[in-house]
Symmetry: C2
Amino acid sequence: MGAIKQKTKTEILTKTIPLFAQRGYDGVSMRDIAKTVGITVGSLYHHFPDKQALYVEALGQTFAKHTDFMRDAFVENDNPKNRIRILIHSLCVLVNEDNNLSQLMQREILDGDKKRLQFIADNVFSGFLRNMNELCLLLAPERDPHLLTISIIGLIVYHFQITPMRSLLPGHQCSHNDSEVIANHVFSLLENSWE
Amino acid sequence: MGAIKQKTKTEILTKTIPLFAQRGYDGVSMRDIAKTVGITVGSLYHHFPDKQALYVEALGQTFAKHTDFMRDAFVENDNPKNRIRILIHSLCVLVNEDNNLSQLMQREILDGDKKRLQFIADNVFSGFLRNMNELCLLLAPERDPHLLTISIIGLIVYHFQITPMRSLLPGHQCSHNDSEVIANHVFSLLENSWE
DNA sequence: GTCTATAAAGGGATAGAC
DNA sequence: GTCTATCCCTTTATAGAC
């Protein structure tokens, strides 16, 4: 019984996430959601007390999907240079595969809601960034690990953020949309910084 | 007469830009705008045919403010390494000073409206990026200039994008909010890539 | 050029039948 | 658990007085 309810809830969230990711919280109405899911607004309110709650659960589900990646991205039995190379490639694939994740993250940072940022920091980033900081210290002990960590992430994320605009910019090529190409570029760009 | 009308319009836009930047298009109502400007909704519609037009003009004014920077950021009588160093510092100051510019840009990229992205590409980025590409070719002839250009911009922009969240992340320090600190970090990180 | 008043549509949310 | 029907507020936008 609870399991069935859970299943419907999950399905609602799964179908709603892309809406919030693409149009933002204010850009999506409960009517939009109901229509997309294929039920009525009244039914929606049987599963969630209000729109905010639905949104927060959608966020949670989106991030939960990638918790494993965030935890397992650090294989310790290899040399730091190989570890960061693999990590950069994995991150590129992850960001390239799940547009919803990146877009929701961006919107949350733009929105700046303190409580939700704290939730994301604690549940999504915290462990991952701590591992990144450690790895950065191994790679470049003389650098500020936090700045280097954010730089690596930013370098990757920005390339995918700007994708919708890339084809309108001078010098672009189709290959620039390939996550392997971006990964190789990013790694080779940083390679000389820790040698 | 036209000049006075223009002045009122400009004032409306100036006071409205921060609203759109912080809360997004759907997050701001014509009432909000009227209240912020200090006139009524009816008067607003005397100056702009609809909300879309107001928004687009607000975008235009925001970007126009920085056209000069985009054009003048390239002093040609210096060696490439100095030029990129100065450029990185200028970009950091620019992005750090005008939150509205960065936020509106982000929102536009997220929104993905083709026509408006084209407008931004043509009127804001085009010349700047072409100059960047040239400079990148001088710095690192063996690299893809477009990828290097986007990387440099992304490296800078992301540090300021993530500012609202930075204090919640492991390893952060107050100094990380300083545009000089970011600029020096970014430059030193890339320095080894073109030597 | 600014106001008041109001239309018309869309938004979140609830009640109660089935 | 889903539906219909509805409430009430906000939204965009317009008309017309001053």
